[in-house]
Symmetry: C2
Subunit: 214 residues, 2 copies
DNA sequence: CACGCTAACCGTACGGTGTTAGTTTTCACA
DNA sequence: TGTGAAAACTAACACCGTACGGTTAGCGTG
């Protein structure tokens, strides 16, 4: 089949199908042939819309990144960080199989940079020195990426009894795979809350030093 | 060549060569053929020592995991978490290309479970309820994995000027790629310190509640 | 000592991967 | 009305993980 009367594909259709495939069957079964199959098309046709597989994955990552909310810095750095971290975490939790895609190549992707820029600006506007803003944004990103790519739920889900006999300390809390997802979100909340609480005194002391200087 | 007089390969030699290859050329160029080439051998021979590529990667991950220090919980949960987090972070920082390998399949690998068990035990022994121990261990793991898999340094190293014009807030702190590595380790330290500081009051209040109960 | 089994290497091949080249047809525009 | 770009195709390349079978060295046992 040569060029069709109306286009069968578009960047959006391809990108959405890729995300669906990743969600449904995992990143391992996202191949160009497989993706094309889902779109009733041959693999080579995809290259009319994307330069390669990496570009398709970038589009997926950008789609997810764009769902992140960086608007709350207007209400202060704590609110900003909390909202940013939570929405970032939520966006990745909705698509756990796609999390590694988002984690890869963060520094190169357009929409990630826009997000990072907004966060950095929000922190600096509320009194954090630029260098600290960089480090704090990185810290929260670490939490989000770590939580999304190595969730508790992805760990010991099956046949717990077998190997847990050898790890007596783990048995206590981990015997309930059903609660794994809850543990994941609670852990992230604890970490984010703890980090923000821990940064409070630092912010205060930096502000005091700033005032003393004037 | 049939069976040689003295074995050319061993699990250790293969595992070490794999790590060297990952360090030198990235995980993308670790193929069974490539690995065999480095060992002056054909790819099929590797299957006499490992059931498959995944097993080789597991061996690499276990090797790195075994370098992590979980002994400091004897001196309290703060010392324990700090030492654990730092040594974990250091082990992965020494092999940044291998970090995703360690991040994958944490809940299934033998040596990771042993580490998790030690950490969980250390936290519980110092007064954290099991459920909190689980969440705190997960939090620090998030930081380590996040920092190792999406380091600042892996981001915008090249051609900064080009795209940074569009992200005014980022320009401030990021123009010095040479400092990227320093920013990475400082960010991790800030996050770990902040998290531990933030957890202090929680530990105190839990201990108080525990005392009140008795 | 001789037998036979297993271990460790090899060559080959199968199905799957990302990607490219070249072909055909349709659409949009000069 | 012609022309070139766009969007689909078929076919092929190089590479991947891995399975199969063949060959021989080493070792335990009668």
């Amino acid at each position: 089949m040569p060029r069709p009367k109306s286009p069968l594909l578009s960047r959006e259709r391809i990108r959405d199908a890729a995300l669906e495939l990743i969600d449904a069957e995992g990143i391992g079964s996202l191949s160009m042939r497989n993706l094309a199959l889902k779109l009733d098309v041959r693999a080579a046709s995809l290259y009319s819309h994307f330069p390669g597989k990496d570009a398709v994955l970038d589009a997926v990552a950008n789609l997810l990144t764009r769902q992140v909310d960086t608007s709350a810095f207007e209400r202060g750095w704590r609110e900003g960080l909390e909202t940013w971290g939570r929405s970032y975490h939520a966006a990745l939790s909705k698509h756990p199989n796609a999390a590694p895609v988002v984690a890869a190549g963060t520094g190169r992707r357009e929409d990630f940079l826009a997000m990072a820029d907004a966060v950095h600006g929000g922190l600096v506007r509320d009194g954090w020195p630029p260098r600290y803003a960089t480090m704090i944004a990185a810290s929260v990103k670490y939490l989000v990426i770590g939580a999304a790519t190595t969730p508790f739920a992805s760990g010991f889900a099956d046949d717990t009894r077998v190997y847990f006999e050898r790890y007596p300390n783990l048995v206590q809390a981990h015997l309930i795979p059903a609660h794994a997802e809850e543990i994941d979100s609670d852990s992230f909340e604890l970490a984010l809350g703890g980090l923000i609480a821990g940064l409070g005194p630092l912010h205060a002391s930096l502000a005091a030093a700033d005032t003393a200087k004037e």
